[in-house]
């Protein structure tokens, strides 16, 4: 933000994160830029247009913010550009129809800060996202950027830096939750040189995109975090491993590195304090297992990304067998703030065992989807119902999946569970990198388990037998259950193979691979049994076990289902009722999704047996 003492200069911020770009925010940005630059001296004010990173509310994109009034417009179209310029940039008017409508109160609010979605959030890792132009190092520096680096180089010894991070209780945000300060200390103690600092930006969990957003929207915070670690442990070289799919993150991070070099924050004799450190970007090759630390290092070395057994940890022998500190993007982004504001302050947020905040991508069957950052210890209920606004279309909450393919599904009985590393693990799921996928009663838990196993079967590197063969067998059983070929004893067999995988796999991928299956069996066993015994998929997802019909009592004859059906299987008469032709129906569920009266029901194959 740019402020002058007398007259505040208006700043127009157009979100250009991946989510908004998909909704054509670039057109809006170009349009506004043209109008503003074209206005010249005629305008009383001269706003600055910026392309920012992700705002979090991707679903309502493109998002345009006008500072300093904090006006928050969403769903902006190119056609709205003129009106925004005339009314809100040149003048101080607010265009009501573009304001965000709060899902809980139904009212339009002027600033995003007034919404339920933002009110309960606490931004540390995402502090700059959507507020700064990621391509501008000046923007970052105006918001305390590189102040922490200056502080450690001028007034703290490496020992003091590590002690501060350890005292803060910061734990690895990549999912495992290892204490960051302890990791740094262990690496510092090893005598071998050189040492390496690595950033894991290979965000592979389906349903998680917090790291993408940070790398796209605030790349300097990651660089600064890595610099502070380099000073503490005595490293001269760093690597940022970014997923190949994240084109914008790679671009913005490359720009940021160049800028940092120009300003003397990277390179030789940084800030004339004798620190030498530089960072290189390595593009991932599109392999999920490379998110595992040893596989990631193998990939940086230019090899196939297979993990190794970790009896010697990478803080001792990591990249090229040298001592290496590897942390996740979000962890790095936390570091400068902790240095600036102190360990005490950081500890005051979150819980005793998990201080600070965590970023989640709240997605799936929830009204407000997007990135959120909340203090640890907040309950799932608060996240899903207060911030997320609950389940759309009046459907019922069924489960929330956390931790990606290594995590599990948490049922509604545990909605009051506080979210931190330890309690999530206890529930049979895990924190993971922060994907939070909400599921309603039209999501089949057996099919979700099958989905994750299929994902893992494809991504298993194949090096160790339990993972390679075990996942394949479990997947086969789940496919059978979903296709109506489930047999008595299948559940026990799944539990048995799962236990073997947990015990005997080489790396984290295999050890945690059974979690989606084990947790769904633990909490949704009846659903498995319905599939196996009654050949019935209660959620109406498994096609072989689903037969949709229209409940005549509930149907109002609006005809929406007929319009939505892609194969013309629904016929009937308006204001009377409709029927589904089972021979044509492809069981896509679009009619059920569309029906506002809940008249589309599923009777499964049980019904056939009765005939």
């Amino acid at each position: 933000m740019v402020f002058f003492k007398r007259k505040p200069v208006k700043t127009v911020l157009v979100c250009c994160g991946t989510g908004c770009l998909a909704n054509n925010s670039l057109e809006v940005y170009e349009g506004l830029k043209k109008r503003i630059e074209g206005a010249g001296v005629r305008a009383r004010i001269r706003p600055v247009t910026k392309a920012t990173g992700c705002n979090g509310l991707c679903e309502r994109g493109p998002i345009v913010k006008i500072q300093p009034d904090d006006i928050f417009y969403c769903g902006v179209k190119a056609a709205d550009v003129d009106e925004i310029f005339e009314r809100s940039v040149l003048n101080d008017e607010i265009i009501t129809r573009l304001l965000y409508r709060d899902t809980s109160t139904g009212e339009r609010v002027k600033s995003h800060r007034e919404t339920e979605f933002y009110k309960r959030q606490y931004k540390i890792a995402l502090r700059n996202i959507g507020e700064i132009d990621p391509a501008s190092i000046d923007d970052y520096m105006e918001r305390d950027g590189y102040r922490a680096l200056k502080k450690v180089l001028t007034s703290m010894s490496p020992q003091e830096v590590m002690a501060e991070i350890e005292k803060s209780g910061l734990r690895g945000r990549g999912g495992a939750g290892f204490p960051t300060g302890v990791k740094w200390k262990q690496c510092e103690r090893v005598e071998a040189l050189p040492k390496y600092v690595v950033c894991n930006g290979d965000e592979g969990d389906p349903g998680a995109f917090m790291d993408r957003s940070i790398m796209e929207g605030d790349p300097h915070s990651v660089i600064e975090g890595m610099l502070i670690c380099a000073y503490a442990i005595g490293a001269e070289k760093g690597f940022i491993y970014i997923r190949d799919e994240y084109a914008l993150a790679i671009k913005n991070m490359t720009t940021a590195l160049e800028e940092a070099r120009k300003r003397g924050f990277l390179g030789q004799n940084i800030l004339q304090k004798g620190l030498n450190f530089d960072i290189e970007i390595v593009r991932g090759g599109g392999a999920f297992v490379c998110g595992e630390s040893t596989a990631l290092m193998a990939s940086i070395e230019g090899r196939v990304g297979e993990p190794r057994v970790k009896y010697i940890r990478s803080v001792e022998r990591g990249l090229w067998d040298k001592p290496t500190v590897l942390n996740n993007v979000e962890t790095w982004a936390n570091v400068p703030v902790i240095i600036n504001r102190g360990a005490q302050w950081f500890r005051s947020i979150g819980t005793e065992g998990s201080p600070g905040t965590k970023v989640f991508s709240l997605v799936g069957k929830v009204k407000n989807t997007g990135l959120i950052e909340v203090p640890m210890g907040i309950t799932l209920r608060e996240i899903i119902f207060s911030i997320g606004g609950g389940i759309p279309r009046g459907r019922e909450f069924k489960a929330v999946q956390t931790g990606g393919p290594s995590g599990g599904c948490i049922p509604k009985e545990l909605l009051d569970l506080p979210v931190d590393f330890d309690s999530l693990t206890e529930s049979g799921s895990m924190m993971g990198s922060g994907g939070m996928i909400v599921m309603d009663d039209t999501t089949c838990m057996v099919e979700v388990a099958r989905y994750y196993l299929q994902f893992l079967a494809e991504e298993s590197c194949g090096k160790c037998v339990p993972c390679r063969e075990g996942i394949k067998q479990m997947l086969g059983i789940l496919e059978d259950i979903c296709a109506g070929r489930g047999r008595e004893g299948d559940i026990d067999l799944l539990l048995d193979i799962g236990a073997t995988l947990q015990e005997a796999s080489l790396c984290g991928l295999g050890k945690t691979a059974p979690n989606p299956v084990l947790s769904t069996i633990r909490y949704f066993r009846e659903e498995y049994e319905e599939h196996i015994r009654n050949k019935y998929c209660p959620a109406g997802v498994c096609k072989e076990l689903t037969e949709f019909y229209i409940d005549i009592d509930a149907c109002r004859g609006c005809g929406l289902c007929e319009q939505k059906c892609p194969v013309g299987a629904i016929s009937g008469e308006r204001r009377r009722t409709y029927t589904i032709d089972g021979t044509k129906c492809i069981k896509c569920g679009q009619c059920r999704e569309a029906c506002r009266f809940g008249a589309i029901k599923n009777r499964g194959r049980r019904h056939e047996d009765n005939h």
Partner: protein, 160 residues
């Protein structure tokens, strides 16, 4: 690639490889750049990589088959990536795949005989908030419906 253009085509590969020092750690990056240039890894280009980095061809093969970003077969002019991340999956990405299959008569991982379209399913594009998502040559399409799929393909055909 037509036979006449192989030599000409290889000059780009030579240029790409020449940028990298002869160190193993640049192997993946070099392969990715070649993939980007040609949309796949031509055998002739791999021979150049083999020579430059002094690694056996079998190693390149193992990398090419391990990393999803690399392909040994040419991909279509338009590469359609349907996201099948969890959020997209529960919001109906399978239906999009089925619709594409119906319209293009190819399955995931395949290319149309005219070389125009390739279809792939990918794990997560990190755009879950606008699920289900499709990406065609770096252009994102959010909240895609089965009805929109046909329209998107038509637009691409028209662009040609």
């Amino acid at each position: 690639m037509p036979a006449g253009s192989i030599q000409e085509g290889l000059s780009q590969a030579k240029e790409i490889i020449g940028k990298y020092p002869r160190e193993q750690r640049f192997l993946l990056a070099a392969l990715q750049d070649i993939q980007k240039e040609y949309n796949y890894l031509p055998r002739e280009a791999l021979a150049l990589v083999q020579e430059h980095f002094a690694v056996p061809l079998s190693r390149l093969y193992s990398m090419a088959t391990f990393y999803k970003a690399l392909a040994l077969k040419p991909k279509g002019k338009f590469v359609i990536k349907v996201c099948d991340g969890t959020a997209c999956h529960i919001r109906g990405s399978t239906l999009l795949v089925e619709e594409l299959q119906r319209l293009l008569k190819i399955g995931p991982g395949e290319t149309t005989p005219d070389g125009k379209f390739s279809m792939e399913t990918v794990n997560c594009l990190g755009s879950c908030a606008i699920a289900p998502v499709m990406v065609i040559n770096d252009q994102y399409y959010g909240r895609v419906t089965t009805a929109a799929v046909g329209k998107i393909l038509e637009d691409l055909e028209a662009k040609e």
